[in-house]
């Protein structure tokens, strides 16, 4: 094999390609800028404003975000006096890692035995359940469970981060995050459990290859997952832990410069991961395509879900923490039980 072929082999190797290039680090970074731009623009459109504009009139002001990013990256990182500097600097990094890690195990497309650029890896990423290869950083049979398990570590790092900054706004924000994470994790897990029961599997690839989109099979679970996703990544109306008008920016109050970018990226990346799972489980993922086009299709759906989630900013005000808790325990939890039962019934009757 010549050098170019070798290079191509390693670059396209799913463990590298998915986690680093698309939809991994490089793509996520770009997506982050575009998402924040979209969030500001969409909110401005709905609220009779214009949004970022003068930085690049032709591109609708998207360079404003690049300018902001550059400003943040080069601004001074201020470390408060009475904190442990190691923990202070490490906490945001750990948080972003925890929210980004699940991308390694989400199946994003299938590899046909031949005819695709990924076909050479067919054997290495073979999934016996669906009799095809799977494009994922690492293929595991129980990936649905693993994704949620890793992603649910994220709030713990938010608490660690707030605690290590020794700031009262941060601690109040972290307490709110704890309250919320208890309530949304339950809903999130129960709605995915409903899907697992319905499709008799914990493998996302198998759920997609059944050929019935989850949103048709169990709309309740789809709705619950979406709401829990909004809570989990503190999107409006559940940006209770960051509540700018009450808590400065909640757990991230003390951060500045590049570390602040990381803290902000954490929730967006988490939202993107949830959106990828949502696109796979409920929106049919890559079906009916496969290989690279399938990968693009999955990511496209996830991006649309992500944009819709950020669009909520323009519509909603913020819930109080007790309202959000009451809503999730009083209305959403019974609904989650209902979706479980619906999942069992449909799984027994329709999806064999």
């Amino acid at each position: 094999m010549d050098i170019l072929g070798l290079l191509r082999f390693y670059i396209l190797y799913p463990s590298f390609f998915v986690t680093v290039i698309f939809p991994g680090l490089v793509f996520t970074l770009l997506l982050l800028l575009v998402t924040i731009w979209f969030e500001r623009k969409a909110a401005a459109r709905v609220q009779m404003r214009i949004g970022p504009y003068y930085a690049s009139k032709r591109l609708g002001g998207i360079l404003q975000l690049v300018a902001d990013a550059v400003k943040f990256v080069f601004s001074e990182i201020i470390i408060p006096n009475e904190v442990n500097p190691t923990l202070y600097a490490l906490a945001p990094v750990l948080m972003v890692i925890a929210s980004f890690l699940p991308i390694a195990v989400i199946p994003l497309s299938v590899i046909p035995p031949s005819g695709s650029v990924f076909s050479i890896y067919f054997k290495d990423f073979y999934d016996p359940d669906i009799n095809a290869g799977v494009i994922a950083g690492l293929f595991v049979n129980y990936n649905l469970l693993l994704v949620l398990a890793i992603e649910s570590v994220y709030p713990i790092f938010v608490v660690l981060l707030a605690w290590s900054t020794n700031n009262r706004f941060a601690v109040v924000g972290a307490v709110r995050e704890t309250y919320l994470s208890v309530s949304y994790d339950v809903i999130l897990l129960m709605s995915t459990l409903a899907m697992a029961l319905e499709y008799h599997t914990l493998d996302i690839a198998k759920i997609v290859s059944y050929g019935i989109p989850g949103i048709v099979a169990n709309p309740l679970a789809a709705f619950l997952f979406f709401v829990a996703m909004l809570m989990g990544s503190s999107r409006f109306p559940f940006d209770i832990s960051e509540a700018e008008t009450e808590l400065v920016i909640g757990p991230y109050t003390e951060y500045s410069g590049f570390l602040f970018v990381l803290t902000m990226a954490g929730s967006y990346v988490g939202n993107f991961i949830y959106a990828l799972v949502f696109a796979d489980v409920f929106l049919w993922g890559w079906y009916p395509l496969s290989g690279f086009p399938g990968l693009v299709l999955t990511v496209l759906k996830a991006v649309i879900v992500l944009f819709f989630a950020t669009f909520m900013r323009s519509v909603y005000a913020r819930y109080r923490v007790d309202q959000a808790l009451r809503g999730s325990w009083k209305y959403l939890l019974p609904l989650a039980f209902a979706s479980l039962i619906l999942g069992m019934v449909v799984g027994y009757v329709w999806i064999r």
């Binding site: 969409a42 459109r45 709905v46 009779m48 404003r49 214009i50 504009y53 669009f311 909520m312 323009s314 519509v315 909603y316 009451r326 209305y331």
Partner: protein, 165 residues
Amino acid sequence: MDKVKEYKKANPFKLFGDHVQAIGTGIKYFVRPQRITLKYPEEALSLPSGYRGLIRLYKDVCIGCTLCAMVCPADAMKMVTQEGKKLPTINYGRCVFCGFCVDICPVDALKETGVHDAAFTNRRDLVFYPDKFNKSYDEPPTERVVKKVKAVVDEKRGIKYVPDE
């Protein structure tokens, strides 16, 4: 003890309907935005003639009585001595455009102009010493074309801008 009623009883289906309606409204505005932002340096609102603007001084008329500096509630007006004569100087970083100085001047040496673009590139430029203060800057800068608009009440949108000639 009276039982505290914390929440109104709400019909969850109606709540859900309300949320759907709210998002629907958001999407409606997203697809068909009704912006009312004025792109200021390119478009400007034409203001009514009585709208208080920057203040100018007639140096030759001023008798140096210091009343304007005394009355100024924001400490924007200060007196300086130039060639043995006391003259007011104004700091637009502090001025609140109350117009008291214009009212109190016994010889009408101060005048409100129709210029409202009090934007400067640095803070030193905010202070107008008597020589600069004495100039007539009644004419707004004209090297760039500014589209003058005026606001009219609109049935559907609340407010809209029409070109003003």
